[in-house]
Each structure stands twice: as C-alpha cells, then as structure tokens.
Symmetry: C2
Subunit: 509 residues, 2 copies
Amino acid sequence: MAARASINRLLTATSNQGCRGCGRTHASNHHHLPSLSSQGVRGMATPIETPLRAGPPQGNGDYAFEMAASNLRFGQHATREVGMDFTNMIAQLPASERANAKIGVFTDPNVAKLDVMKVVEESLMKEGLNWVTYDKVAVEPTDKSWQTAIDFARSGNITHFLAVGGGSAMDTAKAANLFCTYPDADIYEFINAPIGKGTPIAKKLSPLIAIPTTAGTGSETTGTAILDIPSMSFKTGIASRALKPTLGIVDLNNTKTCPREVAISAGLDVLFHSLESWTAMPFHERTPRPANPINRPAYQGSNPISDIFSKWALEQTVKYLPRISKDPTDDEARAQMLLAASTAGIGFGNAGVHIPHAFSYPISSLNKGRAKDKQYHHPSYSPDVPLIPHGVAVSMTAPAVFSFTAPSAPTRHREALAIFMGDRADQLSRIKDEDLGQALGEEIQRFLDILGVPRGLSQVGYTSSDIHSLVEGCLPQRRVLDLAPLLSRDDREEQREQLSRIVENSMSW
Amino acid sequence: MAARASINRLLTATSNQGCRGCGRTHASNHHHLPSLSSQGVRGMATPIETPLRAGPPQGNGDYAFEMAASNLRFGQHATREVGMDFTNMIAQLPASERANAKIGVFTDPNVAKLDVMKVVEESLMKEGLNWVTYDKVAVEPTDKSWQTAIDFARSGNITHFLAVGGGSAMDTAKAANLFCTYPDADIYEFINAPIGKGTPIAKKLSPLIAIPTTAGTGSETTGTAILDIPSMSFKTGIASRALKPTLGIVDLNNTKTCPREVAISAGLDVLFHSLESWTAMPFHERTPRPANPINRPAYQGSNPISDIFSKWALEQTVKYLPRISKDPTDDEARAQMLLAASTAGIGFGNAGVHIPHAFSYPISSLNKGRAKDKQYHHPSYSPDVPLIPHGVAVSMTAPAVFSFTAPSAPTRHREALAIFMGDRADQLSRIKDEDLGQALGEEIQRFLDILGVPRGLSQVGYTSSDIHSLVEGCLPQRRVLDLAPLLSRDDREEQREQLSRIVENSMSW
C-alpha cells in the first residue's frame, strides 16, 4: 500500500543530494542561503533557510508573512490584576455604553473549584464589575458544547470575555465571542474548509482576556480554536488572527495544581507546536498568494520571525519538560514551561503545525467512538472518561513524521536533532544527511520514553485495521496538511499512501 | 571628579566576586540561576538570568512583565496591500461611520518624492479611499513640528493614520493620532516625566499603519515617539503601549534608496536597541511595582521574552550591518537588517534602553545650538543641516557605557562580547570577568571603526568643557536612566559623577 510513497520519498531524497550552491544536501522547498548560516559564536544565530526576500512576485507563492500575537503579561500573582484590566478597557467605551458592560467568565467545572477562580472573582468584585460565570466548558469541546456556550453568551448580552482554564476554556470563549459578534452565523460558517465554509472573519470581536491554567495550548496568544465533531469522528477548528485574545495573563500560581500527567500531555503539545512550526513549509511556497491580506492565513508556513519563537520554545521544552515529569512541583521548570507554551504559541500561531497535529485529531476522536472495552483511558483523567489527551495523541506519529520530513530541510532537522541530543550533540557531525530522519525519529522516541508516553498507537488500542480510518480522519485537515513538507499535494492517492506509511510506522517503537 | 564613581564601581565589582550559588562572578541585580544556564548544543538556549518567578510579592519590585507588539507584515511588495488593509479596517466601523473615514498620510518631503509614496497612493486610490497627505514631517521632529502635524490632523477630521518614512514620520503620526484622540490636551500632557506630566494614555487611539523606509528605529512596532525640544536643548518622548501602530508593513523595496550613511546610522540604532535592552535592569528590580497594570511602563526592564528578541537582533546586526556598510545594495543584508530592526523594536519596546540612548539626546541636541562654525555636519545629510544622526549619537558613549555596566551581569556581557568577537570567540574563555567590560568596550570600538563612525565625542566637536552640559542634558532622561545597571539611584551626586566619567571616557578612542 505504501510502496509508491516509499519510492517517492526516496526519489525526493535523492534528487536533493548535492546542491550546487553549497555542496550540502537539502531539498528545494527550504532555501538554503549559505550566507545566512550561523555565526561561529557560542550563542549562535539561527540559520535562516526561509528568506525574507522572495524576489519579485513570481508564480503563485506568497511574498509576505505576518506576525500577530496577543499582548501577554507574565508574572506570578498577575491574575489579581484582571479586574483592573477590565475597568481600564471599559473606561475606553463611550460613556453611554459603560453601564452595559458585562463580563462573561468561561471556565470548566474543575477549574471553577480552584484558587484561580477565587482570585479572579475577588479581582472582579473589588472593581465593582458586572460579570456572569459559565462553568460548563467541556474538557474536550464539541460542536454541541460550543453551541451551549454560544447560546449562553448570546442571550446574556456579554460585552467582554474572560477565559480561565486550559485550551478548552480559552477556545470555547473565543467561539462564544466570535458568534456574539456574528449573532446570526452558525458554527460551520468560520470552521476551516472543507469541513466548514472557512469564511474570513471581517468584524472586530469584543475584548477577551485569557488566563491559562496549563502550560500547553498557547491559546492565550493564538487565533486558534479547536473543537471535536463527534458525528464526523474528527476534530477541527477555526484559525484566524481576529480570534486572538486581547491579553493573556500567564501566572505561575495557576499551574500549581496541574496533575503530572496533564502537565506532560500539555508539554507535548508545546513540543510539537515548536517542532512542527519550525519544520513547516516556508511561507513563500504556500499557494495561492492571497488577493487580499485579510485572507493571508494565520497558519502561513515557517518564516524568520516564527522561527525565533519555535526554536527557542523547542529548546526550553526539551530541557524543562522532563524535569516536570520527574517532579511536578519543580517551580522553575513550571515557570520555564509557561514561557515556552506562550512562545511556541506565537511560533505556531504565525506559522502553523502539520502532520502530527493532523493525525492527533482522528487519534483522539476515534477512541471515543470505539466499543467500550476497546477504549483507551489515560491515567491522568477520570477512569470513566475514554481519552487520549491531545498532547499524547500528537506525539504518537511524531517519530515517524519527522523521519519522513527530514529530507525537506536537513539543516533544520539537524538543528532539532542537536537540541534533543543535548550533551551528545558532539556526535552529530557523524550522522549523514540521509540518516538524519531515522536519528531524529529515534531521539524523539527516547524523549517520549523518558516522559512515559505510550509507545505507539498499538498501546492505545489501535491495530493495522485502523490505518484506513486514521488516514481518512486526517485527510480533511487541509489547513495543516497543506503545510506539511514532502507530502504530495497534486496526487491525493500518493498522499494517502504517504500518510498510511506514517501510521504503519507509528504502531509501536 | 569621577573618583567616587570609580571607587563605587570597584566596590560593586568586588562585592560580587564568588557567588556561593555557582562559584561564578555576578552582580546581585541579575539573578544567576545555575539551572537556567544554556544547553550544550549548537543552537544553545539563551541563559536566562531574569527569572519569570519573582516569588511572592516582596519589596517594591515588579512581579510581572508585559509583551506587546504591533502586528507586523514582512515582505517585498507588501506595501501595495495597504489600501486593502484600510478598506478592511473601515469595514469594521458601524455603517454610519464608514463614509466619514479619512486617512491622514504622514511623510517627510524627501520620502514624498520616492517610489514608496507612489505605491502607497496607487493602493489607496485603487480602493477608492478618502485620504489627505501631510508631507511636512521634520527630519528630527521638534515640539513645533509635532504641533503643526497635530493641528493638521485635528482640523482635518482624520480617522485613520498612515506613516511612511523613518522614525520621524512614524513618531509624528503617533503624536498626531494621540492628540486627535485627546483634542484638548497639550503636548506635555503625555511626555515622559519629569519633562512632561507623563499621564498614562487611557483611551484607545485610532488605527495607525506604519511603513518604515529605514531599518532602524523599530517605531513600526513600538509605542515610542521621540521629539526634540530645542528650547531645552534635549530630546525626550512618549512611551506607551497605547501608541503602538495597529500594523507595520516592512517591505524591502522601501529601503532600496536609503543612502549608505543613513543606513549605517539607522543600523547603529538597531545595534544599541538590542544591546541596551539585553543589558537593562531586570524587570523585577524596577520600582515601584505599579498599582494598576495600565501604569506598568513599556520600558519595564529586561525580561525573558524581550531577551529572545534583543539577542537575536544583536546577532543579526553584528553580522549584516558591516555588509551594508561595504555594499549598500546588498539585498540580503538589507532584508536581514529590516528583520533585525523590527525585532530589536519588539525587544527594547518591551524592555527599554539605557545610558547610550540617554546621552544620545543631548549629544544630538547640543550640536544644533552651538556656534555655526562649531557645529558637526554628518556626511549623510545636506551640508546645510548641522546634524549628529541619532544612531551615531547613540554609539558615541557605548564603548564606555558597556565597560561600566559589565560587572552588573557578567554572563550577559560575555555573551554580547562573544557575538562581537565572532570567529574569535574561542578566545573568550581567557578573558576574566574583571576584564570583560574593557574587552567589550574595545570590541564595540572595533565594530564602530569598521563602519567608519567618528571615533569619539571629540571628533564631532565636543571637548571636556562640554561634559557638564552633556551630563545635565542626560539627567532628565529618567525613564531610561532608571533602567541603567549600576547607576546610582539614591545618590544623585554619585550618579552625576558616574555619568561624567562615561563622557570623559567617550571623548576619543
């Protein structure tokens, strides 16, 4: 089944041997500019393979990339400032509208019981603000749970939004905000095509402050909102700069109660946000170039600015996530992972993710639809809830994916490998370009083993009979698959074979 | 005169020898966390000396820092999209307000003649927009030139702002925007205290798009606006997140006509934005902690996020600015300097600058007030205009400043030194901590020599009799001096002596 893919991969790799320009191996889809390579200093600059200068507009690739991020405030105890932030925002309204200001606080039933909500409510109360709390956010939001939250917001005349929680709470608040601004739209209006209509968001949304309680999603800085559509057995979402919060408040106090397994899963999300955005197709190869800048996607491909964030976040995560795994009370590691989560958020929020995220959606989603005795229950959550947490689901195909993508940009993959190798990076020069993918795959596996992540899809109950369903669930994730290096775009059958091979290779390690 | 300062510096350095925690030398005002040091890999992570976690609020230092940046679009030819951007913004207005939308285009008489303005006007015309051009921005804006621009904007009912040019045009447009939002305020209302009242900006300003034509100021992403007040012989400004543009469009086509000397001066601004923000006092040592987040200054001290930008921009500038000096048509170097300028803008825009910038204001300003035969005329500009360009003025005290600040954070200064040393960085381990300042000062001088910058204040006409005036002109720059490491804050007389010694040491090299 995957024979053509193998041949194609081989051809691709072969055709990229021996660049005339630099004598090194690299694929055509990352511009290797010898003069942009790193300086020979300790804190070396990142070699930039994606040029700012794409030359005069030729072909259909984009000539520009955009960077957008929420304002972010980092600091232990900063949560207590949120009431003043809303007061300051409300003061900007015309006098006649100030009395109608009403804050909708979106959280989930677990977070609602934590200290963070006490701090938030005290802060709102101290400012004499008018607010209402919606504490029914679903842990993995669905179209139904979104709709309930949207109905709540629409009927409540909410003018300002506050999300307190993980990605679920932040994404649900984004959706509630969006659909209050478009009171007549249905939820498929803005969901990524081809699942939804993918209409660009043209209106300005209401202010939203996001207070994350995990170091993971980066949703406090991105325009991404993800939901599960159980009837179709997959996850998808909305990605638009217009959705990004006005302000993210990142406070170390708020991840204190995060259980070890949740912290690891969230950290894996950070890891692959970083690595996928770092290796995503360069922005100038993404087609078509938008006719109007409002249509330039947030997931626009790797670019010199997202690279800075993605690489930094990757270094941080490789260093600090294992420490959290060892000791979830390691405050320094927790602080650094919070920084990494937001930083990776800025990286992937402006570059995108690719195959591991595309597969994570059916991996998580199909598990829920299986017969009860075949469902996987992750130790982090209640034994009653069948769940492959998002970060774990993302990690399952990663070793196979980066083995596959390495020939697209050997320099970048070599740098990623160096980060994973750490103290052993002096052995890196012995690894030939053609062996890079294999080596990177093995290093990622080694890293996942340290964290105690299930060793492959077979350990969460998938067998070779599921390959077809997993690939079919992955294929509609166009906004991310379109950024995957080396994945065939013209020949859908070939793409299926490439993805099938990745799933095959992800069964166990 | 500077004897006390010398002794104090020595004491400071001595008292910081031999940290019990790590056995290395460092000053108390940068937290050296051994476990936060770099990884032993090629693309090593930046050691973070400023912790995210400042512990429970103790003392009066801040516990949080904020990151804010304009949306930025990078790409050759992206200028042509500006009309559509305004159309998209105007579409967000209530229907009744759309017909009144009017764009004010702020530029200077030189830029008005360049291709960039043709592209801008074609783009606005194509969209059928209503706009009016103000092309009288002064090259180094003054309180008077600001007022003229403000009067123009106020009387013109401008609803949307566009700046096309260098820092002068962007800063003037920011001021025009601010004072249209506050139609009754006078310009001293928001100017940094103690020169102005320093009132925080509480209202939301109108949209502003900035299109830079130099790779320097970073004003397209910052909330900073600088002006000269000739009657007081110094420069000052406004720094507030509220001032930052909505969008910066950074287009390689627009620096094509930038003359060599202007590009070098602009590049020096980038260099010292990076190096000053990288070495500025850590955010958690800045006092007082604001009672309301709206009062947390944009210039808040170095922090883990600004560090990422500042260090990257420093590496880029050290690498690419000499190439522009050699060949101003080197497109790749121009592209990389544009990225560096905006990146350094995000860095210093969220951390601040310190002594070299504080001195640059009187250095530039006093030159204008001197007797005609004593004025310095930089070769980049018209022989009729007495001018020490901003970037050149900043560079004049830098070698002496960083010699002075090195003991405050040896690790950071060592990393900066490594960047300047480039291929010679392997010799770095031989340099003892107590010699770091001297070595860094010499490397900066070497770098400035490569660029052909005047060798010290004596070459632009200053003598030892000017030390007093230069120090007195520097002292009111509180918002930046307050972030200067090792500068005495309690004892103003000592501070004067420290600054005097820096000027003395900056006369020639």
